[in-house]
Symmetry: C2
């Protein structure tokens, strides 16, 4: 029995535009090999920085292209945070930044997330605390792990709040473009104007994760300040990937590929929602994200997702229990991004039998 | 007037095998795109780890392939060093690790380097100090910045010493294969057996630096211990570069390319030695490295390389003053790797006029 993974937050293999990237990699080196194969582009491959600057309406000097956006998170963190700093994060939130912040000796101030995203009242309250938070880390769109999205109303309120307080924010937006339906919402970065809101994203969900091409848009002073730190970390990022992504963009392959990926992922989300409706209606609750990789499952009161996972493994299905992200014991992250619609159907069936069955004492 | 750079320790553009790498990048993705474009290879692209393991006679689980070897230095540092640790380094040594160690709050214990490399008596003495050094960082072959090489006799003595003391060592060997003449010497890693000596190198000098493919061979326990830290830093390294390097190796392109690169660099070193002999004999001293990127210039007693650099810039030639690497004021690193033999000839001519001329008061 093959294990069906609702744990892996990665794209299904058919999402990866392998043949196009193979052509782009070759063309990128043929066109600009002497730059892409040498040192020197500390803050990223210049044509890609320019493209991203244009895309986001900022000067390219404000764009850092890094080996994946987690690396950009580290750079921002190192620049903004000292030992004992307070950092606001969502609860639950992406486990890697949580762990990184914890091991940086930072005080995590956790703000609840519901189906409309971050609780802005709670943010406002937290901003009263001292010392002032070094930054707020938020994933407002198709959040990891919950799949929830900050509503238009809360988005505007949050943007207004951070603008009036000059509160630094890191908006992490890897999933925003992976929307299957509904109207796109403006980013916090756009609403606030990009003065105190920094923005990070990547091509991991829109092209391919193994390329490790992420980026951040930061204030110009911070970008210059980071240059030496970046050079001291890895001299120059991996430019072949960055030049390949640029070639992919330049050939106009990005939009058609994104449409294709959206279709593949929507079919998976639909399969999961249908199977949940059929198998677990009345026994558990879940949300209906309009995009992204994940949905959030809430087991009946008193349920224990970690205990459920132990049993689920035995029947060949896995997921990540909510507590791994700071969520409650009865919650779980289900990723629909990786396995096929048919596997999703079967996986939910397996899971449902366990939710219905009494847990062993 | 174009500035002639003896400062840039990077390969001349004609060293880069652009067309072959373009083919290899395409073939690598066509052959193994679904792996190379996804997450999961935390410690590096598996076929490359296997190739390197075989090359160095170790299990591939001991090989970490990273985004350039400086990143591997950070990982080893984070694992071995706490605040207040003592670390032995050469004096002078590569400026980046020096800075990184300084900002890590480490006590640097500096061991002199002469034309036969590290002073092993001084190492022995330093090992008596307490606390025991976390590790010794050394570049025994064609060292950056001096170009000097640890002699066969000292190599064996140092290997014996660290073996008997169980003293961790990080042997950094990016230049070892870039030998133009003379017999290759065994690495410390080979002489000691790889128990306490870790080894790092990269494909920056043998294929291309912009690929950012470096690696380290560490004890197996350390490799497992590092896995979570690596994932927490960048999830997965940039795999397109690693798969491209693997394809380059697998096609048998490495050795012929290395021969070609050796030829290009030897011509540059020869041009520099000839010009120095002609222009500066009796006025300065320099060594005759059998490979690598650099040679070490010693100005007459009382000379000041920083002051010389200021004047040199005005006549269109640059280099890095020795003090940047912890060397004496009258020393300088001259890189012959980047500019052409004709430019080297002209650059040394410009420099020599300044050395001969009295410095302004």
């Amino acid at each position: 029995m093959t294990t069906i993974s609702f744990a892996r937050g990665i794209p299904a293999p058919e999402c990866l535009p392998v043949a196009d990237l193979a052509d782009c990699a070759k063309a990128a080196l043929e066109r600009d090999g002497s730059v892409a194969l040498s040192y020197g582009s500390t803050l990223g491959y210049a044509p890609l920085r320019e493209w991203l600057g244009e895309q986001h309406g900022v000067d390219p000097t404000r764009v850092l292209v890094t080996n994946g956006s987690l690396q950009a998170f580290h750079f921002v963190l190192d620049a903004l945070v000292g030992n004992g700093s307070r950092v606001l994060v969502e609860r639950p939130t992406y486990d890697r930044p949580r762990k990184i912040l914890n091991s940086a000796g930072v005080e995590l101030v956790e703000i609840p997330v519901d189906d409309d995203g971050l609780d802005v009242d709670a943010v406002e309250l937290a901003l009263e605390g001292r010392p002032a938070p070094a930054f707020l880390y938020t994933i407002p769109t198709f959040q990891n792990p919950t799949g929830s999205t900050l509503s238009a109303v809360r988005r505007r309120r949050l943007a207004e709040l951070v603008r009036s307080r000059r509160q630094p924010v890191l908006e992490d937006d890897p999933y925003g473009l992976v929307r299957f339906e509904g109207e796109p919402l403006p980013s916090l970065f756009e609403l606030e104007g990009g003065t105190d809101v920094m923005y990070s994203s990547s091509f991991s969900k829109t092209i391919a994760p193994g390329l490790r091409v992420g980026y951040a848009i930061v204030p110009e002073a911070l970008a210059s300040e980071l240059e030496e730190h970046v050079a001291s970390t890895y001299i120059t990022p991996a430019l072949l990937s960055q030049a390949t992504v640029y070639e992919f963009l330049r050939r106009g392959l990005f939009e058609p590929n994104l449409e294709r990926v959206r279709g593949l992922l929507k079919a998976r989300r639909d399969a999961m929602l249908e199977a949940l409706d059929r198998e677990l209606a009345g026994e558990a609750r879940w949300n209906h994200p309009e995009g992204g990789y994940f949905l959030w499952l809430e087991l009946p009161e008193g349920g224990d997702a970690s205990e459920l996972l132990a049993r689920a493994r035995d029947v060949g299905v896995t997921f990540v229990p909510g507590p791994d992200f700071g969520g409650p014991p009865a919650s779980a992250r289900l990723a629909f991004s990786f396995v096929s619609p048919a596997e999703i159907d079967e996986g939910v069936r397996r899971l449902a039998r366990l939710v219905a069955a009494p847990a062993p004492v």
